[in-house]
Amino acid sequence: MAGSVVRYLAFVGVGFQSVLRYRASFFVSVATTATTTAVVVFLWRAVYQHPSHPAPGGFTLPTITTYLLVAQLLIRLHDNRVDSEFANDIMTGNIAVALARPARYPLMRFCLAVPVIVADLLLVALPVLALFAWLFPLRWPGAADLALFAVAAACSVVLAFAVNLITGMHAIVTTNTWGVTLLKTTVVGLFSGGLVPTDAMPAPLAHAAALLPFRSMIDTPVRLFLGRYDTTADALRLLAHQALWTAGTVLLCALLWRRLVVRIGVLRG
């Protein structure tokens, strides 16, 4: 047991080294994240500043800004490129080498991704947060909400990893990877609340979002960050709902992997 933990820690080390090697890319990442966030934030701020004061979903100007900002930062942390890297492993045949290693491939990918996610948090998400906090008044959470958010955000990272890995598995069956990845990003972006807060969605869309797992990726953590729940039991229910979806998706990911791994054909070999 201890031996296998050490084995996977080695992958975390490799991931950390790759982070150090590509330091400069984080500066650019700050610029791109700030840009995509700004487009959504300015669009919705214009709505909330309209003279007719529509206040969709009961947000105020600071809370909607905070919602969209934290949502976009979570999307950044979820974008761990594991789908395209996995697809690339399949297309180049590198998967053969990875499968020969005495480690589970999905777990290895997760260990490689962890240092990247931590670096994204420290070097991209926090600077962008500071930038927007300087530009706009935001709504900051209390200690309890921050703790709840931290748990939910960590859980959402695992869920997003599983969703990305499932997306990457299509490479076993087809060769167009960016089309499917684009499709996933779009569907997740819409139903998670990243583009339109779930409370401001039209009823049919909100119903669909409630039935899908993607809401747990963005809306649940951000809702806890903003304290948009009634009682403590309510907050815990949100967390339990998210944990259930995460466990289910990880399970689905494992099942699919077992079914599909035998179908991988490396260079027709």
Partner: protein, 276 residues
């Protein structure tokens, strides 16, 4: 090398390049037929993405009648129009991404220098008629047609039929110039892909009226990375008939092209292949 054939300034050279372009476009169409499923998956991904963005516009206008003085149909028109120069540019110059990302870094760029063609032509010719750009154009034209019809924009008047395609062409040249400038940086820094990605991301602002953004942003989008000229400025003219900033479009386009070509020429001179 046959100079007469490669100097586009002469009539003979121009005809040579035109014939070659026609030939390479036909090659691309053949590739499209061969990899149909790939194209379909990419097109579906793109169409769904555009659909979701239109849905976002629809939801926003459920709450407010106008944004910065623009109605729902006007914003849809703008959003659709913004896809046209982007699609036209993608149709012809997307191989520049690989200059920025890989070709200079690995030294593969050498291959383009030994061909009896202008290196820039030889580079972009790798991806003439890239089908993903066609998907953008088709969706953009549909949106412009739908919203233009609802807004009673005189789409078929002689004025529109002359001005609109010219605006799309200038917009595509602006996109291509920004890409070329970013790609040229690779000659000095080896990999400029992240810079290009960042500049490309800024273009996302162009899909909405620039009036939504604070003044410093508007200034940057108008005069530094002039994406405002690819959508907001021409659309404001098409909707209102007032030229406004449109008179600057040829100047801005010419300026962008000149800066990008200068950077490319200087970068090419600074290019030293890989060491071994």
């Amino acid at each position: 090398m046959n100079r007469a054939a490669t100097a586009p300034a002469t009539l003979h050279g121009l005809l040579y390049y035109a014939g070659l372009t026609w030939f390479l476009c036909r090659v691309s169409l053949r590739r499209l037929v061969t990899y149909r499923a790939d194209f379909l998956l990419g097109a579906i991904g793109f169409v769904v993405r555009t659909g979701v963005q239109c849905l976002l516009i629809g939801i926003v206008f459920n709450w407010v009648p106008t944004l910065d003085g623009w109605t729902r149909d006007e914003v849809l028109f703008l959003f659709g129009f913004a896809l046209l120069p982007r699609g036209l540019d993608r149709l012809f110059t997307d191989w520049l991404w690989f200059v920025a990302g890989r070709l200079v870094y690995t030294g593969e760029f050498d291959r383009y220098l030994v061909r009896p063609l202008r290196p820039l032509y030889s580079i972009v010719a790798e991806r003439f008629l890239w089908p993903d750009g066609a998907a953008e154009l088709i969706v953009g034209i549909s949106l412009v047609g739908y919203a233009g019809h609802r807004l009673d924009v005189p789409l078929w008047s002689a004025g529109t039929l002359v001005v609109a395609p010219l605006c799309v062409l200038c917009g595509a040249l602006i996109y291509a110039s920004v890409k070329l400038l970013c790609a040229s940086l690779a000659f000095w820094v080896l990999i400029s892909h992240p810079t290009m990605h960042a500049a490309n991301q800024v273009a996302e602002f162009a899909g909405f009226p620039v009036g939504l953004y604070p003044a410093p942003f508007q200034w940057v989008l108008t005069w530094v990375l002039p994406f405002a000229f690819t959508a907001t400025v021409p659309v404001a003219y098409l909707l209102s008939g007032e030229p406004g900033q449109l008179v600057w479009l040829p100047v801005v386009t010419a300026g962008a092209v000149a800066v990008a070509l200068a950077a490319w020429t200087r970068g090419l001179a600074a290019y030293r292949s890989t060491g071994n």
